[in-house]
């Protein structure tokens, strides 16, 4: 899985986008892996993540199957971290997403001290991850670089749509929905926050960065 690797964007736009994830290797005692993953998620909450998730169960923004007709007036779309943490019941990938370098670095520092014993990865701008490792006294073990997209790239949509959709590496945030959310925000029918959360609900692994999405959707950020 390369689910977090190929996020599209200019380096200056990607500077607000950091994923830290934990993954036990196969063969690890399941009970201890579950405990470790819960601890990882719980500790991340001290550092103001913008998303949190368990790739097997979903994240703190999830589809809601039991909405009623009153939903248009009172839909609860607030993050639900306890849902994610309590829901971890099998070893897998758990992730926390940050929109600030400082928050990510502080979390990584805490992880180093905690010494959980599972593999920890940072998916972000390569130089920021390297800086973080130096600051925390960590020697990088392996690095996988994104070389971007080849082939029929004319099939890809405009930059902003691509930036939004590639925040879900499994492709379940569609270009169509990203475009629809852009239109709704532009026409004043949705707030950037509501639109960003709508997109986030489709990313099962919860590595989607709603804070970055909000900036893209608001059209306020400096375009790269």
């Amino acid at each position: 899985m390369t689910h977090s690797l190929h996020r599209f964007g200019q380096p200056e736009d990607l500077a607000g986008d950091y994923i830290v994830f934990a993954m036990p290797a196969q063969g690890v005692d399941p009970e201890s892996a579950i405990r470790t993953e819960k601890e990882f998620l719980r500790r991340s909450l001290r550092h103001q993540p913008v998303n949190l998730g368990d790739a097997k169960k979903g994240g703190w923004f999830q589809p809601q199957k039991n909405l009623g007709p009153g939903v248009h007036w009172r839909r609860n779309t607030e993050p639900k971290p306890e849902l994610v943490i309590d829901g971890v019941d099998a070893p897998g990938i758990v992730a926390a997403v940050f929109d600030r370098y400082e928050a990510m670095e502080a979390f990584v520092e805490e992880l180093r001290e905690l010494d959980l014993g599972v593999s920890i990865n940072i998916s972000a701008l390569a130089d920021r991850a390297a800086t973080c490792c130096r600051a925390c006294g960590i020697t990088r073990h392996s690095v996988e670089y994104s070389l971007g997209f080849l082939g029929k790239t004319e099939k890809l949509p405009e930059k902003e749509i691509l930036e939004l959709a590639t925040m879900c590496g499994h492709g379940t945030v569609s270009f169509g929905l990203a475009e629809k959310m852009m239109d709704r925000v532009r026409s004043g029918r949705m707030t950037p926050k509501a639109a960003a959360r709508t997109l986030a609900r489709f990313c099962v692994c919860s590595i989607f960065n709603p804070a970055r999405a909000e900036e893209i959707l608001s059209g306020k950020r400096k375009r790269g």
């Binding site: 992880l111 180093r112 940072i122 099939k155 492709g171 569609s174 929905l177 709508t198």
Partner: protein, 268 residues
């Protein structure tokens, strides 16, 4: 995936949600329909959409009435208001679509969710990518274009011709009938998936040759591919790709960094 015409109220929400643009509203029957050949069974519509569980008869009546006054029925954009989307039983070879497209399907060969393997994410524990090698991860169909296995095979054959070492546990390697030629099971060639990952190793000095092969075969496929390459760092935390890639015309921007905090002894 199917849409139950008794429940669908043609709100068109699922049309935008489908990553493969496989759903459209049929104006004759006034219902959403799925183009089965384009659908990759990713379950983004069925699982990803919320539902208001509304009564379809009432909604159709409300829509007609509101329409008279130029008002419009506007359900939540991420929901199917009537839960009209229903999965279907999948038989071979169509079942391969879901294996490669539904995030929550665990692949038999890898034992993990998704389309690839653990790659370097657990390299600190498994040591699967050793010093002196470049570990490539080439994902066909990503982002959100989708890929047919005949295109995936074009790439795997081109790579086999330059002698790469395919990752044994990778699902695409598992579909190969002849690994030395990169040939895939002919039964799946016309099937479409959201994306599929070809994973292989080559000595670091072969990186340039592999990239040239990929650039060449990229012109022959009717989809896109996302390319990643990994290396193990030395004791100083550095690796050779860092200087090699920019020199080959690939600037370093994003990466996944394994921090080396995993321990092999926790494996039972």
């Amino acid at each position: 995936m199917k849409i139950d015409p008794r429940l669908c109220v043609e709100c068109a929400n699922c049309v935008a949600v489908c990553p493969m643009s496989a759903i459209h509203i049929d104006p004759e029957i006034r219902r959403a329909v799925v183009d089965e050949d384009e659908c990759v069974e990713c379950f983004a519509c069925y699982r990803g959409m919320s539902s208001e569980n509304l009564n379809p008869m009432l909604i159709r009546l409300a829509r007609r009435t509101l329409g008279l006054f130029r008002f419009r029925f506007d359900p939540e954009p991420d929901g199917c208001p009537t839960a009209a989307i229903v999965p279907q039983e999948l038989e071979w070879p169509r079942s391969i679509r879901r294996v490669f497209s539904d995030v929550l399907m665990t692949h038999e060969g890898t034992g993990i969710l998704g389309r690839g393997t653990e790659e370097v994410k657990t390299n600190d524990v498994t040591g699967r990518l050793g010093p002196g090698f470049a570990g490539f991860v080439v994902e066909l169909g990503r982002p959100s274009v989708g890929a047919r296995f005949y295109d995936i095979e074009k790439v795997s054959r081109a790579l086999a011709a330059v002698g790469v070492i395919f990752e044994e546990k990778n699902p695409i390697t598992g579909l190969m009938t002849d690994v030395s030629e990169g040939a895939l099971d002919p039964e799946v060639l016309d099937e479409k998936v959201m994306s599929a990952i070809i994973e292989f190793r080559t000595p670091l000095e072969g990186t340039d040759a592999v990239l040239q092969v990929l650039e060449g075969v990229a012109r022959e496929i009717d989809t896109v591919m996302a390319v990643g390459v990994a290396a193990r760092c030395g004791e100083d935390g550095q690796n050779d790709l860092e200087s090699m890639l920019p020199a080959l015309g690939y600037p370093i921007v994003r990466a996944k960094t394994n921090l080396g905090l995993g321990r092999a002894e926790v494996i039972s």
